[in-house]
Symmetry: C2
Subunit: 324 residues, 2 copies
């Protein structure tokens, strides 16, 4: 069993092999290189490799599919950043800021194609199953991004709508990462499906935790402002839960703060108070914890013995405990 | 052998089956439906089906791959229109004009994914070969679009650079359409390769002809202005050939007209005169004709008898003779 850091290195090497920095035209590929060497956590491809290792000692068949997932994920971030007009990603200028929108659109498109090309190079026996989960997932991620954008102009979003949105936008790709890794390791269809469900729960827990960390987490190295989601009225689990729970005066006050309060510090402080009154922080924590334990349960339900799962369970627990 | 109109109907039916208009979220899929029902010529998928019919009486295996190519092609047009800030496509508002840039980016992304999903549904025996040509081609199309954008800010572009650009941006997808159709029809690898080369030549001829028609063609129903490429200093075959051929006073005059002439009518008329002096129109015609005959030659070199090629040769000849 290899440690996450070793697996991350394997992924980085696989991505290095693509030689983006040397491809022509440079205007197309330099942004791809920039994005792919931007020090991401490689969460998804590491999960793929770990999922593969649950079923097999041979990681090789999972390497290119894992790299495909990481490139696809970064493609979605690149295009999302244009749509969200985000200036900074992982402490560096986003592609559309550093270059321009056209460069960001087209190099994103190239990354999508590159991810499909990599997944297509999987071994013949698993290829149709891999394509099926990859393509379905890729389309769902687009649907999730659209839902997320729709939420921006909606006054009310229910918890269920929110959960469906993060299932599509975030969780299915984590789920697909684990299923694809498992399939590359020779898992049975039913075990691969359990890995998918494990990843789905992990992704849901991860996103709710992300919402929590934005408000309650430790200051990040990159200096992301605490409570940024509140300032932007972003429909996080905390906010949609508060919108569902709040009645009368509290609902009015929340509405007022969201629409009218111009001072970001006051806005964050006051809305945080409402979250505390309604107990939405506690609810989110419980929800995330429940998803994380479901993730481990589904993983434990798969055929292989516990000893094959030590690393991946440890990794999920580390994700659970992250503070930034 | 089926007529092009019958094949176009088969394609339209295949695209209809995707049910874009009913998919959710509507914000994502309505623009896809809008683009895919926008009355394109379906040149590429019709060529796919015709290429399949050269080798087989059974078109079914080629239907989904042909639809994949058409969706991919329309995805590239959709994103190109954002990058080129084009307002009109086939007489209707472009997606980014009718909706906005974000909608156009994301529904384009969904179309890219949909095209990959469709090509992935090809029959198992041909799947790896189809993926190989589709993925390679898709990446080349991105590279071609980047080259084309690079040309905008370059004072000089050689004929060879121009030909390489249109090979990537336009011709490889026509070539892939024919190769994919042939593979679905059970063509041998060498026959499939000949079909690819036939399509490559057809695509090159088609694009040079497009450049010619912009200046010398009949007025289109949609009312595209004659000489629009000249007004925009677009690097067409006519212009790059003139830039290579012109010397002394002519080169100076051409440079002046491109940079300083503000009256579009004068600009078109005067640059057209220079093209006539240098014989670039005639050169372009000869070049296009030579590519078209190469296309037919390569097609004739494939194994099946002439009787199987009547329709596709007739179709290529019709393309050759188009006036708009």
């Amino acid at each position: 069993m290899q440690k996450p850091e070793q697996l991350r290195e394997l992924i980085d090497r696989e991505i290095d092999k693509m030689g983006f920095a040397d491809r022509l035209p440079g205007e197309l590929y330099l942004p791809v290189d920039y994005v792919m060497t931007n020090g991401g956590k490689r969460l998804r491809p590491v999960l793929s490799l770990m999922a593969c290792e649950v079923f097999s000692d041979n990681l090789t068949p999972a390497l290119k599919p894992a790299a495909a997932i990481e490139i696809f994920h970064n493609f979605t971030l690149l295009h999302d950043d244009i749509m969200d007009k985000a200036d900074i990603r992982r402490g560096k200028s986003t592609v559309h800021k550093r270059w321009n929108d056209n460069v960001a659109i087209l190099s994103g498109d190239a990354m999508a194609v590159l991810s499909f090309a990599l997944i297509s190079s999987a071994q013949r026996e698993v290829l149709p199953a891999l394509l099926e989960v990859f393509n379905t997932t890729a389309l769902e991620v687009c649907e999730g991004q659209q839902m997320d954008m729709n939420f921006e102009s909606m006054a009310f979003v229910s918890r269920d709508m929110y959960l469906e949105m993060i299932r599509l936008k975030t969780s299915v790709l984590v789920a697909a990462s684990m299923k694809i890794g498992a399939l590359c390791g020779g898992a049975s269809e039913s075990d691969a499906e359990l890995m998918y469900e494990s990843g789905l729960n992990l992704g849901l827990g991860f996103q709710i935790q992300d919402d929590l960390l934005d408000l309650y987490g430790e200051q990040e190295a990159f200096g992301k402002k605490k409570g940024g989601d509140i300032v932007q009225n972003k429909k996080t689990f905390l906010l949609v839960s508060a919108l569902e729970k709040a009645g009368g005066k509290t609902a009015e006050r929340l509405g007022y703060l969201m629409e009218k309060e111009k001072d970001p510090q006051v806005k964050v402080m006051e809305i945080k108070k409402i979250f505390d009154e309604l107990g939405t922080g506690k609810e989110a924590e419980e929800k995330a914890r429940s998803y994380f334990s479901q993730a481990i349960e589904k993983l434990n339900d798969t055929g292989p013995g516990h000893s094959r799962k030590t690393e991946i369970v440890g990794f999920i627990k580390k994700v659970m405990e992250r503070k930034t």
